[in-house]
């Protein structure tokens, strides 16, 4: 806005340029609102059309009404598993990134192999390996005379699920942390070193506080992805949304009904968490806004 279009406090006459600009903006906003309303109407119509088609094909509505709460009880499990896993993954990712960025070849090798193997294999295979493979080792260890160590390898379903999700996301988030740490200009490290800080101090006081601005929104994004990927742990029998839905679907052979309920629950979860995510991103960007 140029200076002469700013309304002066004492001015009595309206500025024609300003009012024209305001009118244009209002017209634009109106057009955008109308478009959103139209698109929203199309969404509602599509969902209604699908619902009508499904009802026509004898989808059992009373069955859904009677059993959807069983599936909804899994929401807490899904949220809880994802939260625990993303926390462990964050810790793994921090150390992974430090390893990748260090000059030490052992640290580089360990984190590089970890990232490459985990990103190179499917999450499902990792879940199977942890849930079915580790107990095999545990039993051998007990047979060899290490009962304590062996029992450590025999995990319950929920433990193996959390371990698999954490290991998997830890590898992907290593790159997030690496990018975040590298986004801090090298001069900051040098300045901190010249002040006599140790490596831990530099990281804790100078680099990480700034890197977190970049990293936290990415952690949120990964959390949203994990909410959906956690459906995979249903294959080992963790009673979250998908497992509950498919269990009922199988028992009463109502697959369409229960799976649609599960899909709806996930969809709502994703929409809510995406909204929270956008608020988080706004909040994180505030420091750099002028």
């Amino acid at each position: 806005m140029s200076v002469d279009t700013v309304r002066q406090p004492g001015a009595t006459t309206a500025d024609p340029d300003l009012s024209m600009g305001l009118e244009l903006l209002a017209a634009q906003n109106r057009a955008r609102l109308i478009q959103s309303a139209k698109v929203g109407a199309v969404w509602v119509a599509l969902v209604a059309l699908m619902a009508a088609t499904l009802l026509q094909l004898r989808i059992d509505l009373p069955y859904i009404a009677g059993h959807f709460d069983y599936v909804v009880q899994g929401v807490l499990t899904t949220l809880w598993i994802s939260l625990v896993s993303i926390s462990i993954a964050t810790v793994l990712a921090l150390f992974g990134a430090l390893g990748r960025l260090s000059a030490n070849s052992v640290a580089q090798g360990v984190s590089g192999l970890y990232v490459s193997v985990i990103r190179g294999t499917p999450l499902l295979v990792q879940i199977w390996l942890i849930h079915l493979g580790l107990p095999q080792i545990g039993i051998e260890l007990i047979g060899l005379g290490f009962p304590r160590l062996g029992e450590l390898f025999i995990l319950r379903a929920i433990q193996s699920g959390i371990l698999a999700l954490s290991l998997n996301y830890g590898a992907y988030m290593t790159e997030v942390f690496r990018a975040g740490i590298q986004s801090i200009v090298h001069g900051q490290w040098e300045a901190a070193r010249s002040l006599g800080m140790t490596y831990g101090q530099m990281l804790r006081r100078v680099v990480l506080p700034q890197a977190l601005h970049v990293i936290i929104p990415d952690i949120g994004n990964n959390y949203i992805f994990m909410l959906k990927d956690s459906a995979l742990v249903s294959v080992i029998g963790v009673l979250e949304i998908t497992c509950r839905a498919s269990r009922l679907a199988r028992r009463d052979s109502k697959p369409m009904e229960m799976l649609l309920v599960a899909a709806a629950v996930y969809w709502i979860l994703t929409i809510i968490s995406s909204w929270l995510q956008s608020r988080l991103e706004n909040r994180m960007a505030r420091a750099y806004r002028h």
Binding site: L57, R58, P122, P255
Partner: protein
């Protein structure tokens, strides 16, 4: 040039020293990888993991590699078509096209692939049976899909939603002036798309499609759940019969890892090739 330039020589020497250092670091890291893998192997042998069993049956799992590749390739082709049309819908001014593609993306990206797969494999036949009972025989049979078909459909639909954003970004990366210039020449929208926008957008899109193809190779492990004989299914099947889980799953994991390493290498070549046009 007969006389050696001292500055040039110093520069070359510095470069050579740098390269040497980088090579040494690489060799060291490689040695650490080897050491770690050897340590892991030794530990596994120590707890009686049976290498002979794996050596005997690795061929059975290997046959699944072709299935995995084939399913992924078909699905990514389907997804590319869906992504193109989805992006056209999102970028159009028509509210119906926007609504359809918006809902498609939101629903698919908001639900897990596993749920989508199960709905297609278990839910659609239920609808199909009802349709047959209502007298629409052919339509009903169309909805009753085989395992491979539902796997491909689920992967295609899922990745289509993600590729929509890739195509949208690619098309938006072509400057708006190009479209206006094409319209000024009297081209129809289809001509503009085919002759002006897509050929430039494709340069951005192709490397991304490659990336998605690599992750699809891994996500296709999910379709083992509906019983397609790809790597994971074959590995777990043998593992279950003889309860040799570690052996067979490690064989499966090794195949996936090799496939990812190979396709990542191809991907980097592709990206380099795609960047040629903008090199100076």
């Amino acid at each position: 040039m007969t006389r050696a330039d001292p500055d040039l020589r110093i520069g070359l020497e510095l470069l050579a020293a740098q390269n040497r250092e980088r090579l040494i670091q690489k060799v060291k890291v490689g040695a650490v990888w080897m050491g770690l893998l050897a340590l892991l192997a030794a530990t596994l042998l120590g707890v009686h993991v049976d290498p002979f069993y794996a050596a005997e049956h690795y061929g059975f799992v290997l046959q699944g590699v072709l299935t995995t590749l084939w399913v992924s390739l078909t699905s990514i082709s389907l997804a590319t078509c869906l992504g193109l049309f989805g992006a056209l819908g999102r970028l159009s001014r028509n509210s119906i096209a926007q609504g359809v593609s918006g809902l498609y993306i939101s629903v698919i990206r908001g639900t897990p692939l596993l749920i989508q797969l199960l709905i297609i494999f278990l839910g659609l036949p239920q609808i199909g049976r009802q349709l047959i009972a209502l007298g629409f025989r052919q339509l009903g049979e169309l909805l009753t899909l085989s395992a491979t078909q539902s796997g491909i459909l689920a992967l295609g639909l899922n990745y289509g939603a993600y590729l929509t954003e890739v195509f949208r970004a690619g098309m938006q990366s072509v400057g708006h002036g190009q479209e206006e210039a094409a319209r000024a020449l009297g081209m129809t929208p289809v001509q503009i798309l085919r002759r002006v926008v897509l050929p430039q957008a494709i340069r951005v899109v192709i490397p991304n499609v490659g990336n998605y193809f690599i992750s699809m190779q891994k996500d296709s492990a999910l379709i083992s759940i509906v019983g397609i004989w790809e790597i994971t299914f074959r590995a777990t099947r043998f593992a279950r019969i003889d309860s040799k889980y570690i052996e067979m799953l490690l064989v499966g994991a090794a195949y996936y890892w090799t496939m990812t390493l190979a396709s990542s290498w191809l991907q980097s070549q592709l990206e380099r090739r795609m960047a040629h046009a903008y090199e100076r």
